[in-house]
Amino acid sequence: MSGFWIVLTGALVASCCAILGCFLILRRMALIGDAISHAVLPGIAIAFLMSGTRDSIFMLLGAAAFGFIAVFLIEMFRSGGVQSDASIGVVFTALFAVGVVLISLNARNIDLDLDCVLFGEIAYVQWSTLEIGGADLGPKAVWLLGFTLVVILLVISLFYKQFKLTSFDPALAAALGIPVALFHYALMGLVSMASVSSFESVGAILVVGLLIIPPAAAYLLTDRLGPMLVISVAVGIVSSIAGYAAAVALDASIAGCMVCAAGVLFAAAFLLSPKHGLLALRRARSRAAA
C-alpha cells in the first residue's frame, strides 16, 4: 500500500510540473522555474514558524508570495540594467540563503530539516493522513497535490489559447489585447504553487528536474503544444514509477531516482527522437551529403 501512495504522489508531482514546464520551456524561462523552486524556501520557513504545522494553507500562501517576490525582484533588477541571468542568480541565491538561515536558527523548535528541504521525503507521505470525522482519507500530500493539479488544469484549460499565444508570440498576443503580463504572473503563481506542494515529497531542488526534463523530452518528440503536454505528463508519470522501482532496488532516495529516471528518458529522446534526435539529425546530414 505504501508503494501505491508513493507512486501516486510522485505521479501527481510529475503531472503538475510537467504541464507547467512545457510553458516555461517554450518561453525560454527554464531557469526561472529553477529560481522559483529555490526562492519559495523562506516562504515555507516563515509560514512554518508562524503556524507551526507542515500542512497549512499558510505554507502554500507564504511560498506563493515568495515566488511572486522572486519574479518581481528579477524583473526589477533586469529592468534596472542587470543582465537577466545574473539577476536570476542574485535573487534566488539570496532568498534561498534567507530560508536556510531561518531554518537553521530555529532548528530546535521546528521539525523541518534541511535534508527534507533539499531532496524531500516522499517515503513518509503515507504517515500523515487526512482524517475527516474519523474516516481515513489517505495521505494529506496526495490531497494537496491533487488540489494543485486541479487548479493547474482548470486555469490552463480555461485560458489555453491565451497561454499558448503568449508563449509563442507575446508581441502578437499584446497586439490582440491579451494581458501578457497578467498571464506571465499567473504562470509564475502556478509554478510557485506546484513548487511548494511538491517540496515535501521531492524537495526544493529536485522540483526543477521534474519541471524541465519531461517537457524538454516532449519538446524533442513533437512540434505541437497539445501532444507536447500529453507526452510531457506521460514522461513524468513513467519516471515516477520507474524511479520508485529503481529506488527500492538500490535502497536510495526515491525523489533522486525519479529525476534520474526522467534524465534517462530525456537521453533516449535526445538520441532516438525520429525527427529531432541526434541519430536522426546525423542520418539526415549524411543523406544530404550523399
Partner: protein, 322 residues
C-alpha cells in the same frame, strides 16, 4: 571581532573565507560579462556526484580526492550542457536546467546509497550540501590561498585575452587568438573556484559567491580592471562577514551568511552606485528637471519682451486690417 583573531581555528576559517571570496569574485567578473553567471550554479550542483563517487571508490574522506572528483563531474556537466544545446533544439537555459537537476539527482541517489550502505565513516559527506567552514583547517587554507593566488596570477597574465573573449569573441578570433582554448581556460577557472568553494559554502549556494560580488562591482565602474579588483574585494568582504557572524551565533551556517553579506553589498551598490545606482539616477533626474525649469524660466524671461511684442503685433495687424 578581535578576540576571534586570537583563536587560531577561527583565524584559519576567517582567512579561508576571505581567500575563497576573493578568488570567486575575480573569476566571477568574467563569467558575468560572458553572460554565463548561472553556469557556476550548474557546475556546483553537478560536482556533488563527483564527490560521492570519489568517496565510494577510495573509501576515505580526503579533501584532495573530493576536489578531483568534483572537478571531473563539473567538467563533464559543462560538456554535456554544450552537447545538448548545440546538437538539439533544446535552448541553452533548458539544457543547463536538465544537466543541473540530473547531476544533482545522481548525487542525492549516491549520497543516500552511501548513508544506507556499508561505507564506514560516511558522516560528514552531506556537509557538502551547505558547506562547513567550521571544519576548515590550516591545510585547507593553504589550498584556498594557493588557488586564490593562482587565479589572480592567471587573470593578471591573461587579462587582455580574457577581456577580449568576454567582450567580443568574434573579434578575438579575427585577430588570431585561440578563442576556444581561452574559453576552456575560463571554464576551468570557474570550475576550480566553484569546487574549492564547495567545502566552505556548499554546492547549493557557492554560485552566489561567483555571481553576486561581480554584479555589485558592475555598479561602481565601467573599467574591467577596476571591476575585477572590486569584485574580488566584495567577495573577500562577504567571506569575512560570513565567517565572523557565523562564529558569533550558534547554529548559523557560514555559507548562507556569506551569501547574504554579498547580497547586502549588492543592495548597497544598487542604491548608491555612481551613475547606475538608484540614488544617483534620482539625483540626476532632479538635476535635469531643475536645469530644464531654469532653462524654461530663462527662456520665458528672455522671451517676455518678445511675447509682448508678439501680442502687440497681431493687434497692430488687426489695427492695420481694420
Amino acid at each position: 571581532m578581535w578576540e576571534m583573531l586570537n583563536d587560531p581555528n577561527l583565524r584559519w576559517i576567517l582567512m579561508g573565507s576571505i581567500l575563497l571570496g576573493f578568488g570567486n569574485g575575480i573569476v566571477g567578473t568574467f563569467s558575468y560579462l560572458r553572460k554565463e553567471s548561472l553556469l557556476g550554479d550548474v557546475l556546483a550542483h553537478a560536482a556533488l556526484p563527483g564527490i560521492c563517487i570519489a568517496f565510494m571508490l577510495s573509501g576515505v574522506k580526503s579533501v584532495g580526492l573530493f576536489l578531483v572528483g568534483a572537478a571531473a563531474a563539473a567538467l563533464a556537466a559543462a560538456a554535456l550542457t554544450n552537447l545538448i544545446s548545440r546538437r538539439s533544439r533544446i535552448k541553452p537555459d533548458a539544457a543547463m536546467g536538465i544537466v543541473l537537476s540530473v547531476f544533482f539527482a545522481i548525487g542525492i541517489v549516491l549520497l543516500t546509497r552511501i548513508q544506507h550502505g556499508s561505507y564506514g565513516n560516511q558522516s560528514g559527506l552531506d556537509k557538502f550540501l551547505f558547506g562547513q567552514a567550521a571544519s576548515m583547517t590550516m591545510g585547507d587554507v593553504y589550498v584556498l590561498g594557493g588557488t586564490a593566488l593562482g587565479m589572480s596570477l592567471i587573470c593578471g597574465l591573461l587579462f587582455k585575452e580574457f577581456k577580449l573573449v568576454s567582450f567580443d569573441p568574434a573579434f578575438g578570433r579575427g585577430l588570431g587568438f585561440k578563442v576556444t582554448a581561452l574559453e576552456y581556460a575560463l571554464l576551468t577557472l570557474v570550475t576550480v573556484v566553484v569546487v574549492t568553494g564547495i567545502q566552505a559554502v556548499g554546492v547549493v549556494l557557492v554560485a552566489a559567491l561567483l555571481i553576486t560580488p561581480s554584479v555589485a562591482a558592475r555598479y561602481w565602474t565601467d573599467r574591467l580592471a577596476a571591476m575585477t579588483v572590486l569584485s574580488g574585494a566584495f567577495g573577500a568582504a562577504s567571506g569575512a562577514a560570513g565567517a565572523w557572524i557565523s562564529s558569533g551565533v550558534n547554529q548559523l551556517p557560514t555559507g548562507p551568511i556569506s551569501v547574504l553579506a554579498a547580497t547586502g553589498l549588492f543592495l548597497l551598490s544598487v542604491l548608491f552606485g555612481p551613475k547606475r545606482g538608484i540614488l544617483s539616477k534620482l539625483l540626476l533626474r532632479r538635476q535635469a528637471k531643475r536645469d530644464w525649469i531654469s532653462k524654461q524660466l530663462a527662456k520665458a524671461g528672455a522671451g517676455a519682451p518678445a511675447t509682448q511684442a508678439g501680442t502687440a503685433n497681431p493687434a497692430g495687424e488687426r489695427g492695420a486690417s481694420l
